[in-house]
Each structure stands twice: as C-alpha cells, then as structure tokens.
C-alpha cells in the first residue's frame, strides 16, 4: 500500500491500522537513528522508537493534519530519548555495578560505531561530550539532515531559536576542539 503522508495520517486517525503501519515503515529509520544518536544503544533506541510511535498514535487527534508527520514524531523520539538518557545517567552507578556482577565483559567503546576517518571519529567523540541540547541540535541538522523549519518543529521553538542554538552548539564544539582536540584545528 502506498499512501501520501496526509492520507495515511487521516486514515490512521479514523482507526485504520494498515495506514499507521505505512507511516511507521516510512519513518522508522529516522526515528530509530534519532534515538540511537542520543543513546548509542541499539536495543534502547528500538524501545524508544517503538514507544514514540505508540505515543504518536495515541495523540494523533492532537496532530495538525497538514503538518509534516516526521518532525512531530522526531520531537516525541527526542524527548523520550533524552529522558531515557538522563535516567540512565542517574542509574549509571547502580546499573553498572549490577551489570558488572552479572556480566563482567565490558561493552564496546562509545565510538565503536564510527569507522571512517580518524578526524570524523574524533569529532563525533567531541560532539558526544557536548551538553545534551547541543548534541541534539547538531544531530538534527547534520546527521539527520533536517532543515531549519523541520528542526523548529522538532524542538517546538521558532526558527530564530534554532539558529541561535545551532550557533551556540557550534561555538561550544569549537571551544572544546581548541581545548581538547587540537589536532582537529587544521
């Protein structure tokens, strides 16, 4: 079945599960990757993406029919993933202690998913060290390649706010590079 997004949303709102399945299929990669960029854990990203689709369905009535579905979905994904990320940080000490008892083998390093050039890998590591809001804005723009309008819908702010947050994140990244990754400067 191939439906336009507007038609799929309209049919899903009327309770057509196949229409919503089509929306899931069209957007699952973006949702999963957005969650993965924040969590760096495939299983957790899958859980978050699934949860986001369920919540999006439950709230379809609140969705404005002619808006783009993907930015709205990514807003839910991003919020859920950030919540999960914060919860993981809170639980980190206890969770790691228990995990260590049960599974002493260490997991892969945080940047294991990056295999291209050394600079790219180093820069990705630098981005991962930025505050969460800075990381998200950079991921949305450069990794998921959203334009400013879409980003504004994801973070539920104006385009002006998107610009200022991008600028701030870039400045912080540049400062981090100057301070800790001098090899990237040239």
């Amino acid at each position: 079945m191939h439906l336009s997004e507007v038609e799929a949303v309209a049919r899903a709102r009327r309770g057509d599960p196949s229409a919503y399945a089509a929306l899931v299929e069209d957007n699952q990669q973006a949702a999963f990757r957005a969650a993965y960029l924040i969590l760096r854990d495939a299983a957790a990203a899958e859980d978050v993406a699934q949860e986001a689709f369920v919540r999006a369905y439950r709230n379809l009535a609140a969705f404005r029919e002619y808006d783009a579905f993907r930015p709205w979905l990514l807003r839910i994904v991003t919020n859920l993933a950030l919540n999960e990320h914060r919860a993981r940080r809170r639980r980190a000490g206890l969770g790691e202690r228990l995990a260590g008892l049960l599974r002493p083998v260490a997991g892969p390093p945080a940047d294991a998913s990056l295999v291209a050039g050394e600079q790219a890998s180093t820069l990705a590591s630098a981005i991962d060290r930025l505050p969460a809001n800075d990381r998200v804005i950079l991921h949305l723009r450069y990794f998921l390649e959203l334009d400013e309008e879409e980003m504004a819908r994801v973070i539920n702010r104006s385009r002006g706010t998107v610009k200022s947050r991008l600028h701030r994140a870039g400045r912080r990244l540049r400062e981090l590079i100057e301070r800790e990754f001098p090899d990237l400067r040239d």
Partner: protein
C-alpha cells in the same frame, strides 16, 4: 577554526557514522496498539492521578473498593484475559468522569503492612519454598508477607525488590494502572512479561475474586512481572528495563 571548516568536519563525521540495522517496528507497534489500553487514539490527555501526602483511610478504602469491584466485574475478567501473565492481572484504573476531581492515590508503600523481616532460611521455611536468587547476588534483607493462608517472599537487593510466590490456581496479584502508567509487553527467558513504568500503580493480592485488604498498596517504582515454571516474580526497581531483564534472565 572557521565556521565552514567546522561544518565540513561535522558533515564528515555524520557521513562516517555507522548505525545498527533499523528494526522493523511496524509489527511490534501494531501489536501494542491493538492492546486495550491503546485501542483508540485519545482525543485529549486523560487527567493524571498523582500521589499526595496525607493519606486518609477513607481513600484507601475507596481504592480497595475499586480494586474489588473491578475484579468482580465482567470488565475485570476481560482485562484479566488480555493483560498479565498467569498469576497477575493488569487493568486500567477507571478515569473519572469529566469535571470530577480524581481521588488521590495513597502514598507509595514499599512492602505493605504486616511484612516481617527474617533470616533467609527462616523465610524459606515459613513460605514453604526455596528462595530463588539472581546469579551472583545475595539479598540485603528478606521479608515474609502473609495474605490469608498464603505467604510471599520479598528479597531486597541494592536497587530492586524481588517478590517471589508460588501461587495457587485461584490466586493472583491484581494491578490497576492509571493513565500515566505505561504498560509494556516484554519477555523474560522467552516467556511473556510486563513492564510497568511511569506513574504509580496499585497492587493487591487477589484470593480468587476477593482482594485481600492488607495487600493493597501503591507502587511507585518500575515493575517487571513474569513467571516461570519455578515461581511467580515481581521486580520493583529503579533500574531500566534492560538492566531489570538482565537480572531476571538469571533466575530459574
């Protein structure tokens, strides 16, 4: 470093990023949507129930009456068939009518009244079955609870409480989930399990259709419910689902 150079580097990092394969989510999402709690899109958010300090006994009785009423009603039977593993029924806490202020839940209670702390060996003797322990972990404290003729073990570890029971055919734990409680299907050792998270939910021990008053309590922590051939388990925890399952998988 100028803006252009920085952008080039970020785009290069983005292009070099390898992602795990995207899972096929349509099937799992639709299965969850077909569950009763999510049968139709909501037109507006359901009013949330929040625990408040200062429990009045009357409110606890109201909760108890609600638990019992749901358990006795045909709706409760239907929910019992659709949610939960054998020995555990999960249903939604009815939402108040428009304009009606929801009754506050009692404050969370980790064990409920009547819990008795005893050494592990004594607990096993009282319960009549051997406590089953997660691999590599020893409980910091052990409690026994008695509901009528039935005993339940609660093993407290750093970060989670593990409730163990060997339930008879007619016995079960009933759970009432407010709108803010997420009920997620999952699995432990290939068996159906449920993960309750979000807002607090209500648990009571049901002896057949009857809710045992002393067992009614509000659980604030996330809860993983599953059963094996060996026992019925409930883990109440602050851990993530992933960590909770990792521990649960080590139980027989």
């Amino acid at each position: 470093m100028n803006d252009r150079r920085l952008e080039e580097l970020i785009f290069a990092a983005a292009a070099a990023t390898r992602y795990p394969p995207t899972p096929d989510l349509a099937g799992s999402v639709l299965r969850r949507l077909q569950a009763p709690l999510a049968a139709t899109p909501r037109l507006r958010p359901t009013p949330r129930l929040r625990p408040r300090p200062g429990l009045l006994a009357a409110l606890a009785l109201a909760v108890l009456a609600l638990v019992t009423a749901l358990a006795l009603s045909p709706t409760g039977d239907a929910l019992a068939r659709l949610f939960g593993v054998r020995g555990s029924t999960i249903g939604p806490l009815p939402t108040p009518a428009a304009g009606v202020t929801p009754t506050p839940l009692p404050p969370p209670d980790r064990l409920g009244p009547g819990a008795r702390r005893v050494p592990l060996a004594e607990a096993e003797s009282l319960a009549g079955f051997e406590a089953l322990l997660p691999a590599g972990l020893r409980p910091e404290a052990v409690f026994v609870l008695q509901y009528e003729r039935f005993r339940v073990l609660v093993l407290q570890f750093d970060g989670f409480d593990l409730w163990e029971a060997q339930l008879e055919q007619q016995a079960s734990f009933g759970k009432l989930a407010p709108a803010g409680t997420e009920v997620r299907e999952t699995q432990v050792r290939g068996r159906d399990a449920y993960w309750l998270s979000g807002e607090p939910h209500i648990v009571s021990y049901m002896d057949g259709p009857r809710s045992i008053q002393s067992s009614v309590r509000v659980v604030e922590r996330n809860t993983l419910v599953w059963r094996t051939q060996a026992a019925f388990y409930r883990m109440e925890t602050d851990l993530s689902l992933q960590d909770a399952r990792r521990i649960a998988e080590t139980l027989p």
